[in-house]
Subunit: 107 residues, 2 copies
Amino acid sequence: MRNNSDDLFRTLADPTRRRILDLLAERGTLTVSELAAEFPDLAYSGVSKHLMGLRAARLVSARRKGRQRFYRLDGRAMAEALAPWLAKYEPYWSAALERLRNLAEEP
Amino acid sequence: MRNNSDDLFRTLADPTRRRILDLLAERGTLTVSELAAEFPDLAYSGVSKHLMGLRAARLVSARRKGRQRFYRLDGRAMAEALAPWLAKYEPYWSAALERLRNLAEEP
DNA sequence: TCGACACTTTACCGGATAGGAATACATTCC
DNA sequence: GGAATGTATTCCTATCCGGTAAAGTGTCGA
């Protein structure tokens, strides 16, 4: 009896997977090799499996081109499962987020 | 080499812990017994342990009164670790969140 | 067509973790 | 002081999960 939210939070629980999301957020689109290069301590297949997990959670999507596969962020899961959850707790983090925004706008 | 974010997301990964947060969000302050009553399938000690985890992650705080312990939400971790993370991915969920807000304001 | 390449899948292992039961601890009530 | 109550902790076990190595799939190039 596992729902969307469970899968999403489970997927986000792993630091490597969050790091992959960060890399994709910074650089847009990356191949498995490019991503794997960022994790020298991990076997290639490990990175690939993490990407499968992220794909299953709909946090990333993949486009195939030749023998490469280009991954990029896909916010569907965040929008559909995380956003409603966040809404419940908004009072607890929105103020902090606002401060961050203001900070970012200053020199 | 484990940071705040790791602990926070790891703690949020468990459905029972998230359910506890939900209950506290709805009802404000609850004792361990009251919370345990909401989880008939779990042993009392299990709930208590989850509360310890949530406390370690600073997602809840406890006030002691007599032999009872009153737990309530504590947004520090969300504000300090979750909000910055959210800020990075804001484009992916803010639109969805906005829609939710508008929906909530209608009859 | 053969081999190299990019990636995925499978099989397996070790460590982490959720869970229960029993025990320990702290506080109140008698 | 002693029993009862509310909670925390310890010990144990089954399960899950991330990790690797190796085999499998599909594509390109010579």
